[in-house]
């Protein structure tokens, strides 16, 4: 069932995925005009994190919009789709459809900025470690948009205060990894963040989905 829904999501949201990847690539391209062709790890990590969070932030109000607009969710619910299946499918879809392609374009940007392979890996590991927290918060933001009368970016904006610590932890992790200091409390803090936002994100999402799709 989840695979079937995933296929469906990839089919109807291909334009949004394309826009997110294009945004990420253009973002790196624009920075290359500022002659930032050899950034420090800190600078590259900063640009990568802004890219990832900004791209995900832009798509977050529309995560459920195409499915609701064409009535496909109603159709899937009529075929005994459970909220749990929809949740799992959406989380996997956000990871595979948005997160990984945006991360891929961040790698391409790293090549544009003449970063060595080790630096690119250290920078990419930060978002990968924090992926559960990022994805669940993005998903929660999109569900908040569905559940409130306020439209557009208001709800994702309200989620920004939770993303700032993730952003700071992500950059710090990349720096610590390059310093070969993986036992830092920051890395433990990042895993703690994943567990905390992961559990709370699942419970919050379950409540919001049951309220909206009841």
């Amino acid at each position: 069932m989840i695979l079937k829904i995933l296929k469906h999501f990839f089919k109807i949201e291909k334009n949004l995925i394309g826009s997110a990847i294009l945004f990420s690539l253009l973002y790196g391209f624009l920075y290359s005009f500022f002659w930032l062709d050899s950034l420090s790890l800190k600078g590259f990590a900063l640009l990568t994190w802004i890219n990832i969070l900004f791209a995900l932030f832009l798509i977050s109000p529309d995560i459920y919009a195409p499915d609701l607009a064409d009535g496909s969710l109603d159709f899937l619910f009529s075929q005994k789709l459970s909220v749990l299946n929809l949740f799992c499918a959406k989380i996997i879809f956000i990871f595979l459809g948005y997160f990984i392609p945006i991360l891929g374009s961040a790698i391409l940007n790293g090549i544009f900025f003449n970063q060595d392979l080790a630096t690119i890996i250290h920078v990419i590991l930060g978002p990968l470690i924090l992926a559960p927290a990022i994805i669940l918060l993005i998903h929660t933001g999109s569900l908040l948009t569905l559940n409130s009368a306020a439209s557009g970016f208001l709800m994702p904006i309200l989620m920004i205060p939770f993303f700032i610590p993730i952003f700071i932890f992500g950059i710090s992790i990349s720096i610590k990894l390059q310093e070969n200091f993986p036992s830092s409390p920051l890395i433990l803090g990042a895993f703690g963040m994943d567990i905390f936002y992961g559990i709370l994100g699942i419970i919050f999402s379950k409540f919001l989905m049951e309220e909206h799709f009841r």
């Binding site: 908040l144 009368a149 309200l158 920004i160 939770f162 700032i164 709370l200 309220e211």
Partner: protein, 225 residues
């Protein structure tokens, strides 16, 4: 809810005698300020500037304490569905926001005189600013939702999401190289602070704590009316 407050003798005493908290707070505040301005000697390094810290530190503690308190209330509301717990979240958040704003303002004044800048993107300062944004976000979210049980649950979850920021504020001075000094109040408190500073700090904290409690009761009554 009012029915609950007035039926329950425990709360009834607090609500009816709320002015005692205001007078207690005022008395403690005057006593504390007298100690801060007349009894303690200036710090060997900071001089008279240290006196700002006797209001800045209690504000900072309260901003975090109130957030921790409303997080517990939000959790109680979600688990045990106790309406009174959400009322505390609802009215506690603006009080916490006020104390966080005062923390930032007093810290900026102290920072300008000590570091030469009103603001630095330091981990401790940034995490406190995030706390302020979470309090603001709560208000915006509250105003964008109609008050139903569903919206109360959404707001409670929102508050719980921000709880992770509290350990970040606490440990930010240890995890990152910060301009802000490490925690003074620890196991070896008198190693980092002159013993004569401890009592005024405690008195000022108790004064603001009772003031916060008075504001809480006042808002609770106002909300019911």
């Amino acid at each position: 809810m009012m029915y609950f407050l007035f039926k329950n003798s425990f709360w009834k005493i607090f609500v009816e005698k709320r002015w005692i908290f205001a007078l207690f707070s005022l008395g403690l505040c005057l006593w504390g300020l007298k100690m801060v301005f007349f009894d303690i000697s200036p710090d060997y390094l900071q001089g008279d500037l240290v006196r700002i810290l006797f209001i800045h530190v209690p504000f900072a503690w309260l901003s975090m304490l109130i957030y921790a308190g409303i997080s517990v209330c939000a959790f109680i509301f979600l688990v045990f569905k106790l309406p009174l717990a959400f009322q505390f979240v609802h009215i506690g958040a603006p009080i916490g926001r006020l104390f966080t704003l005062l923390t930032i303002i007093t810290g900026s004044i102290w920072g300008k005189a000590t570091w030469g800048t009103w603001w630095a993107w330091d981990a401790r300062l940034t995490s406190v600013l995030i706390l302020f944004f979470i309090y603001l976000g709560f208000e915006v979210l509250k105003s964008s939702l109609k008050e139903t049980q569903k919206s109360q649950k959404i707001l409670s979850y929102y508050i719980l999401l921000g709880t992770f920021n509290l350990p970040i504020i606490k440990f930010s001075v240890d995890w990152w190289n910060t301009l802000h000094q490490p925690a003074t109040i620890s196991k070896d408190v008198f190693k980092h602070m002159d013993p004569s500073y401890f009592l005024p700090l405690l008195i000022m904290f108790l004064a603001f704590l009772s003031w916060a409690f008075f504001l809480l009761l006042l808002k609770l009554l106002k909300r019911e009316k």
